[in-house]
């Protein structure tokens, strides 16, 4: 038996369903915090190892990034299994961050080929982090991410002018403002 209902009820139903689809925007703080801490540890330990004159000072990067990649893939598959709905935002985020990764590898490839100083490549990477968080912040309507992105761009410009070794500390600084602080705020917003 189909129940007919009036126009006011129609409006209520539409509004309720829109509210229902809004709640899942903040569940990706996990990835911000995971990668935030990994890049933070890698850049900080790389800086310290350079200072003490260790020959393989770059070693934290492949170890931590590879480990992070495995954890991300496993977490992504697990979350994918639980996810019952895909929004336009989800698709946009997937394309944004996959494009981010490809661009990151291109910058690292060019830098490793010796055609780019580490200062410039670190500045480009910081600017790229800024773009990723700026766009995410705009889509999620989450101001800390938008501000994090803008601050990251300022740090990227400043990175060109610091001594080469210290450009690593600029990466540490930018990851703190673009990933870690907004990541914890996002987590806090989710829990509250």
């Amino acid at each position: 038996m189909e129940k007919t209902f009036n126009e006011q009820e129609s409006l209520r139903v539409i509004t309720e369903m829109i509210e229902n689809t809004k709640s899942k925007f903040c569940n990706n703080s996990f990835f911000y915090l995971l990668w935030g801490w990994l890049v933070f540890l890698a850049s900080a330990s790389n800086f310290i190892l350079v200072q003490i004159g260790y020959a393989y000072s770059w070693l934290p990067w492949p170890v931590l990034m590879f480990g992070g990649g495995i954890v991300s893939v496993i977490a992504g598959i697990r979350m994918g299994k639980k996810t019952k709905v895909v929004t336009m935002f989800d698709t946009m985020m997937i394309y944004l961050w996959n494009g981010f990764l490809v661009t990151l590898f291109i910058i690292l490839f060019v830098a490793a080929s010796g055609n780019l100083s580490w200062n410039i490549s670190n500045a480009l990477i910081i600017a790229l982090y800024g773009l990723g968080t700026f766009v995410s912040g705009g889509v999620l309507k989450f101001k800390p991410l938008i501000f994090g992105g803008v601050i990251s761009w300022a740090i990227a410009v400043a990175t060109v002018y610091v001594p080469e070794n210290y450009s690593l500390l600029m990466v540490t600084l930018s990851i703190t403002v673009t990933y870690l602080i907004p990541g914890y705020l996002l987590k806090f917003r989710k829990n509250s």
Binding site: T4, E7, S10, M17, V85, V86, D90
Partner: protein, 96 residues
């Protein structure tokens, strides 16, 4: 003269389903059941009606050996929903 309210959308559960699908790219059957609170049998009937009208698409697949049904709204469904909202505005008198 009021516009006619689309009878296919002017029914609580079908309107719930289409409103949900308007906001997402695709949704699983269980998601629709969870959000609307309706019985699976009822949802199944309404999904078929919406599909027959060309408002939604239904895809059947498997995940971990369990059948998985996902739905998404079609351009025709989006147009019908927009027309429905416009007609609703007429009724409520918001339209200038």
């Amino acid at each position: 003269m009021f516009k006619q309210l689309d009878p296919l959308l002017h029914q609580q559960l079908r309107l719930q389903i289409v409103s949900l699908l308007m906001n997402v790219e695709k949704a699983e059957f269980n998601y629709l059941a969870e959000k609307t609170g309706a019985t699976k049998g009822n949802i199944s009937v309404q999904l078929t009606k919406l599909k027959d009208a060309g408002y939604i698409e239904i895809h059947k697949s498997f995940r971990n050996n369990y059948p998985l049904t996902t739905c998404n709204i079609t351009p025709k469904g989006i147009e019908a929903f927009e027309n429905y909202v416009a007609a609703l505005k007429d009724y409520i008198g918001e339209k200038k």
